[in-house]
């Protein structure tokens, strides 16, 4: 068959397919109106016609046209549109805690890096208060004291607008830090490890310094509740980052790229969860933590947060679909 006869015979089919594709690639409303009755059949015969066009050596322009058409149709045919809400419920109910437990070794390492550096710096500062200057600079210290020291704080309750601004700030800053910690793990794990050590030292320095200047109670009543989701999220991000770095360092029986892909698939649910935890933390930090309440209330609510999260991460999603 000559090329022009071939084109003439099948052109109506191609045009029908193009019309369907235009609908499918458009907005939701146009998608619903797309003429799809012949889509699958047209796509199948298009595959056949492209193979024929290549085999018979038809012009490159025709081959390119058919290839582009098939690429578009292939993309629409294999698109996944899972309903979002049920997927999110399953994820929070079981997917996230399972993904965290699956990587528990990495989270343990990142938690240890954080805790050990925090305790070390805390101890150093109790031993010699001047050492705080090696970790936090003058401005940072002034900020900390202004935020937590009973004599320096202005006694007035914060208003709603300030709460909202701080909420935005916590989202922008903390989620950014968590995402960067995760990504920097890809650089052979060094980035994530450094981030954990640095955050740990800073936390230790703040806690040590503030307890020395007599601001321990305001500090701990402020951080204890949102600290649960926030610190856990940062440690999970660090652990996930270390997992990525390890995939590159020691891919085992996979190629490095394949190992990286698997690690990314394992750690992605953790990062979704980190995002959820940090949004939760930002809510608590902006709207609950600054409230002036009796220390006993704040400590019990904070302890409850830690307990609930620990139970959730260690127990949720066990045995629903058999052993992990």
């Amino acid at each position: 068959m000559k090329q022009s006869q071939f084109e003439q015979r099948y052109r109506p089919q191609w045009q029908r397919l193009e019309a369907a594709l235009q609908g499918l690639e458009g907005s939701r409303r146009r998608r619903r109106q797309a003429p799809l009755a012949a889509f699958a059949a047209d796509y199948q015969s298009l595959c056949h016609q492209l193979a024929l066009a290549r085999e018979r050596g038809y012009s490159l322009a025709l081959q390119e046209y058919l290839n582009a058409l098939m690429l578009r149709a292939h993309r629409q045919l294999y698109r996944q549109r899972a309903p979002l809400l049920p997927a999110m419920a399953t994820f929070l109910g079981s997917g996230f805690p399972r993904a965290v437990r699956h990587l528990w070794r990495w989270h343990l390492i990142s938690t240890l890096a954080f805790l050990l550096s925090a305790l070390l710096v805390w101890g150093m500062i109790l031993h010699d208060p001047e050492l705080v200057h090696t970790v936090v600079d003058g401005d940072g210290l002034a900020n900390l004291e202004e935020m937590y020291h009973p004599d320096l704080r202005d006694g007035a309750e914060r208003d709603r607008a300030t709460d909202l601004r701080m909420f935005g700030y916590y989202i922008y800053n903390n989620v950014g830090i968590a995402f960067r910690t995760f990504a920097s793990g890809l650089l052979l794990g060094v980035g994530a490890l450094l981030a954990m050590l640095f955050n740990g030292s800073f936390f230790g320095a703040a806690a040590g310094h503030l307890s020395l200047v007599g601001a321990a109670q305001p500090f701990f009543t402020f951080v204890i509740a949102h600290g649960a989701p926030e610190l856990i999220a940062i440690m999970l991000a660090g652990g996930a980052g270390l997992r990525l770095g390890w995939a590159v360092l020691s891919p085992g029986s996979w190629s490095r790229v394949e190992a990286l892909r698997r690690a990314a698939a394992e750690t992605l649910p953790v990062m979704y969860g980190v995002l959820v935890l940090l949004i939760l933390a930002a809510f608590i930090e902006a709207f609950w933590s600054p409230r002036e309440l009796a220390p006993a209330v704040k400590y019990s609510v904070g302890a409850l947060c830690w307990l609930a999260l620990a139970l959730y991460l260690s127990l949720a999603g066990r045995n629903r679909h058999g052993p992990e």
Partner: protein, 225 residues
């Protein structure tokens, strides 16, 4: 024509898809366009929020966060793998088996952007892209995605209806391809260059006559007769 580093994929239907991965330059340009668009959104939508007191600057910071991390994810997941910049440059992100990009794949490649950025100006991503045979940066490797050239679909040219003549030599498949390519591309070549090419086919004829004859033969192969 693009440099031929094409990737061929066999689909379950037994057809062969051809993808051509995009290099650092068009991708950087697309990124630049997206960067400008983000800047404009920030100026027009987000920055005025700060006029509404402290609460407004909270909204501003949330928008800043969304623009920084989720702008590409949103467009890639819900707009056929294309941010506005990629669309302008005729690029699209797909999985390396040609399948469309979903939310997960897009999130992985965009979260790991922070690693590609290291230490500055996407240096890591650039080096990895040069090393990788399929022009992938770290985020692409982890998410198993490719950025491909996906220009607007070419239109089919209508059949010509002038006279044709059969070639006076036994036509091999390669000759057929050459003739078809000649008629496809003749529009983009100058008359002189076409004559030059025609003279290779018919060295005995004067260039103008050779071109006439070559056109007729090409039409015969195209099947207009």
């Amino acid at each position: 024509m693009l440099i031929d580093d094409q990737i061929h994929i066999d689909t379950p239907e037994g057809a062969r898809l051809t993808l051509s991965p995009a290099g650092p330059l068009p991708r950087a340009l697309a990124y630049g366009i997206d960067f400008l668009i983000r800047g404009v959104i920030l100026l027009v939508v987000a920055l005025p929020m700060t006029l509404f007191g402290e609460g407004g600057s909270g909204v501003y910071l949330v928008l800043l966060f969304l623009l920084e991390w989720f702008y590409p994810v949103f467009f890639e997941a819900f707009n056929q793998g294309r941010t506005p910049g990629k669309k302008r440059l005729g690029l699209a992100v797909v999985h390396s088996n040609g399948a469309p990009l979903g939310f997960n794949g897009s999130l992985v490649r965009n979260l790991l952007r922070a690693a590609d950025l290291f230490p500055m100006f996407y240096l890591t991503g650039f080096v990895v892209m040069l090393i990788s045979p399929r022009q992938q940066r770290l985020g692409d490797l982890a998410a198993d995605t490719l950025v491909i050239h996906s220009p607007p679909p070419p239109a089919l040219s209508g059949a010509t209806d002038s006279e044709a003549e059969p070639p006076d030599w036994p036509l091999s498949r390669q000759d057929q391809q050459v003739l078809l390519a000649f008629s496809d591309r003749a529009g983009a070549l100058s008359e002189a260059r076409q004559q030059e090419l025609a003279a290779l086919a018919y060295p005995d004829l004067p260039p103008a006559a050779a071109l006439q004859r070559l056109r007729r033969v090409a039409r015969h192969v195209l099947g207009a007769a």
